[in-house]
């Protein structure tokens, strides 16, 4: 790909903080190919014909209901979008996988079944399996004959996964490892035929194992009683001297963390389209309700405060879509010429994802918080009916909450993303120190704000705070969780604002959404940055730096009330989330 000046350009992790990006350089839903759109239509049809009629049965956990829908999806190829042809998969690109994910996520419970099976249930084998393991298990996972599950969490080891206590011991003959212990909160636990289980060999070497349900000594617990996604299966899995053939060790012995952590980048990225799919459903429900429900003689959708909510739901949804597909496009650029037939293909795939690990965390955090906002306002628009189980929005509200917790809590992801950016800087992969110094000399020379574009200034806000925080805490910065999370929030804010602006630049009326998003986003960034500055400076330096910050955060004010009304009117006319 070429940049705006016509020179070769390749996106790099965290690079958005330093480099200018042109509108044509980010992948957006508007760039979907005809084939992508065909995949979207097939998935939509599948949803209408096969999932929607069974939603209540899935919700009630009727035996076999979800699995039979999952198997039907497998017939259409929806469970194995990335898996190579030779194992029965579709061998399509990452964007196709994201498009499918978005469209099976309209209901949280089915999304959990589908996502856990085709993601953490299948991908570890694809990326780390030996040829024999792949041939044994992938075709059976692809067809849905085996449902996949992933066993990492334990009762006292959630975010702190490496504290797992499940043990593996090699038997005297050296043929099998004997697994002992228990895993908690395992998605698909009740129906899975194959479990990817993390255990410590001799209590030390953290290792992944492929464990079939039929192995003696394996059992699953009762369905856990959850707040939401009640139609998904979540159980404990117990291991009582379960013999696992040595050939079923997945990846290298003692390197289970490599398996566990590499899967997470893709999982976090996919949470973007999952949240987007759920949010589109709720926004559609809310738009319909706002048109139908009358109060004080008119449809409630005609009231300003309801329009504010509808517009804001759409704006955040637009932003989550923008960052999800931007990262997808960037990963794909790094995968140019990728083929599963080339040696080291799995490593290439993981490296491309790892490059954008911070951005994957941003997608996870931003999209899950977006969905929580959308379902919350969805309930509010429905008023008393939104609190009633007869309305889909009540379920969506409960189902949404888990997204901020799984795939790494949002708190862990904020810390991780900041840590990754700092690490890339230390390794010389990202010139943050140079950029901070350059900014400081610009400020010293009075060149403030020095840039008319608010998106470019949002990056300066991040750099300003990074410089100040680093001077204050130096090597102990990684102990300062609040400051790190704040920095992460600033980088995420800049990323989202830039992605929204770049996407809208190539569209007809989405620019209105971008203007609202940037104006509000800058105010939010200034607030976060003030917290960081006040934690690092005091007296005159604090006052002076806060003054600089304020200049950076300035925006040409637009009438966001009027803009939101216009955005809402268009949504209400269309009766669903459409952007142009």
């Amino acid at each position: 790909m070429l940049n705006a000046a016509g020179t070769p350009w390749m996106p790099r992790g965290g690079g958005f903080l330093l480099d200018a990006t042109a509108p044509g350089q980010v992948f957006t839903p508007e760039d979907f190919s005809e084939e992508h759109r065909a995949i979207a239509r097939t998935t939509d049809e599948f949803w209408r014909n096969e999932v929607e009629p069974h939603l209540e049965a899935i919700q009630r956990q009727e035996p076999g209901a979800a699995v039979s829908v999952l198997r039907k999806s497998a017939e259409l190829g929806l469970t194995a979008v990335l898996v190579p042809d030779r194992y029965g998969g579709m061998e399509l690109d990452l964007a196709s996988a994201m498009i499918v994910a978005e469209r099976v996520a309209r209901d949280g419970s089915y999304a959990a079944w589908h996502g856990a099976h085709s993601g953490i249930g299948t991908i570890p084998i694809l990326l780390f399996g030996t040829e024999e393991q792949k041939q044994t298990y992938l075709p059976r996972l692809v067809s849905g004959e085996l449902v996949g599950a992933y066993c990492l969490s334990e009762s006292h080891a959630g975010s702190d996964a490496l504290a797992a206590r499940t043990r593996a011991t090699l038997n005297a003959e050296g043929t099998h490892y004997l697994l002992n212990g228990q895993k908690m909160r395992i998605t698909n636990g009740g129906a899975a035929g194959l479990f990817t289980v993390f255990a410590k060999i001799d209590g030390e070497q953290f290792t992944a194992f492929l464990v079939e349900r039929g192995y003696p000594g394996l059992s699953t617990g009762a369905e856990e009683k959850k707040m939401g996604i009640k139609g998904s299966s979540t159980t404990a899995v117990y291991f009582d001297n379960v013999p696992v053939p040595v050939s079923n060790v997945l990846g290298e012995i003692g390197r289970g963390h490599v398996v566990a952590f590499n899967i997470l980048n893709l999982g976090r990225l996919k949470l973007g389209p999952f949240a987007v799919g759920g949010a589109k459903q709720t926004l559609g429900d809310s738009l319909r309700y706002a048109k139908e429900r009358h109060a004080f003689g008119k449809a409630i959708g005609e009231f300003g405060l309801i329009q504010h909510k509808l517009a804001e739901m759409a704006i955040r949804l637009f932003a989550a879509e923008a960052i999800s597909y931007r990262v997808t496009g960037d990963v794909q650029l790094r995968l140019a010429g990728f083929s599963w037939d080339k040696p080291g293909a799995a490593a290439t795939m993981m490296k491309a994802l790892e490059e954008f690990a911070a951005e994957c965390s941003f997608v996870k955090v931003f999209a899950s918080e977006m969905l929580d906002y959308v379902v919350d306002e969805g309930v509010q628009i429905h008023g008393g009916y939104g609190y009633h189980q007869d309305y889909a929005v009540e379920r969506a509200y409960r189902d949404s909450r888990i997204n901020r917790i799984f795939e790494g809590t949002n708190e862990i992801n904020r810390l991780l993303a900041a840590g990754i950016l700092l690490k890339r800087s230390r390794r010389g992969q990202l010139e943050l120190v140079e950029a901070v110094k350059k900014l400081e000399s610009e400020i010293g020379a009075g060149k403030i704000p020095g840039e008319p574009d608010p998106v470019a200034r949002s990056k300066k806000i991040f750099l300003l705070c990074l410089g100040v925080a680093y001077r204050r805490f130096k090597d102990t910065l990684d102990q300062e969780q609040e400051v790190l999370a704040g920095l992460s929030g600033l980088a995420m804010g800049a990323y989202a604002m830039e992605s929204v602006t770049l996407r809208a630049a190539r569209m007809k009326s989405a620019g209105e959404m971008a203007r609202v998003f940037v104006q509000d986003g800058m105010a939010q960034m200034e607030n976060t940055a003030r917290g960081i500055l006040a934690a690092c400076l005091e007296g005159e330096p604090l006052r002076a730096t806060a003054g600089v910050l304020h200049r950076f955060a300035e925006v040409e004010l637009v009438n966001t009330i009027e803009l939101r009304r216009r955005i809402a009117s268009r949504l209400l006319d269309a009766g669903k989330y459409v952007v142009d």
């Binding site: 005809e34 084939e35 759109r37 065909a38 995949i39 239509r41 097939t42 049809e45 599948f46 017939e75 259409l76 190829g77 929806l78 979008v81 579709m90 061998e91 399509l92 196709s96 499918v100 006319d573 269309a574 009766g575 142009d580």
Partner: protein, 256 residues
């Protein structure tokens, strides 16, 4: 058996329609399109016939660049190849004009059977298939629910009114217009979508097919149905509301 299926691309069913500036058609720029439903059943019938009797299924579609979506869908579902009659100005054409283009594209293929939907979801004339048969000199039958090959002829089940059916036999080549809902439509699977990449799509211009004739029939005006129903809520106690209702029935509706 060599089967050609003529498909049309129409606005998706739940579209919010707006009349365009000319007042003679709807605004197409903001619409999404899909395969006309009866045509989707025609394609399904063709694919099932191919599965039973062997042969080839060719999708035929006329329209602007956007119809490549419909063509790809037909290929993804299992059509072997496709013909795209490229034309940007079919909106003003009538059934005869379109049937001429399609018949001209069909003639050189020398098919055994031509299938199409009994009518389109947008204009609903139900004429194109029949006129096409006439132009080709093929026998035709309409509102078909079932097709069985019998050597050099086909036996077909036609829908009549009031739940009555008619079985009849036609010599090949023939044109059949297919009824909606007669079978279960297959999906364009992801594998099918991928395979469609390499299938042949022949592009023909209207000029190559003899050109688009000036319409004999033209649309004067399209308009949204006028809403005339109005609901009034009568307030007060039941007795007061009943009295008000009687008064309205007597003096406004004049039915008492």
């Amino acid at each position: 058996m060599k089967i050609i299926v003529a498909i049309k691309q129409v606005p998706v069913r739940d579209s919010v329609l707006q009349v365009d500036a000319s007042g003679k058609w709807i605004r197409e720029s903001e619409l999404s399109f899909e395969v006309n439903e009866p045509d989707a059943y025609a394609l399904e019938e063709a694919l099932q016939l191919k599965e039973r009797y062997g042969g080839e299924v060719i999708a035929l579609c006329a329209g602007p660049a956007r119809v490549s979506q419909a063509i790809r869908e037909a290929l993804a579902k299992g059509a072997d190849r496709a013909i795209h009659v490229e034309s940007d100005d079919l909106g003003a054409a009538d059934s005869l004009g379109i049937a001429r283009l399609l018949a001209s594209a069909i003639r050189s293929e020398q098919p055994d059977l031509v299938l199409t939907g009994l009518q389109s979801d947008d204009l609903g004339y139900g004429q194109t298939g029949v006129i096409m048969a006439e132009l080709l000199g093929f026998p035709h039958s309409t509102i078909i629910m079932q097709v069985e090959a019998a050597g050099s002829s086909v036996r077909v089940k036609r829908e009549l009114e009031n739940g009555w059916f008619q079985w009849m036999e036609l010599p090949l080549p023939a044109v059949l217009t297919i009824q909606s809902g007669i079978s279960k439509l297959r999906y364009a699977t992801l594998m099918g979508i991928k395979k469609a990449r390499t299938k042949e799509v022949k592009r023909l211009s209207a000029a190559e097919l003899g050109g688009l004739a000036a319409p004999v029939l033209s649309v004067e005006k399209v308009y949204l149905p006028q809403k005339t129903k109005e609901t009034q809520m009568l307030d007060g106690t039941p007795a007061e509301a009943a009295a008000a209702l009687v008064e309205k029935l007597r003096f406004e509706a004049r039915v008492l």
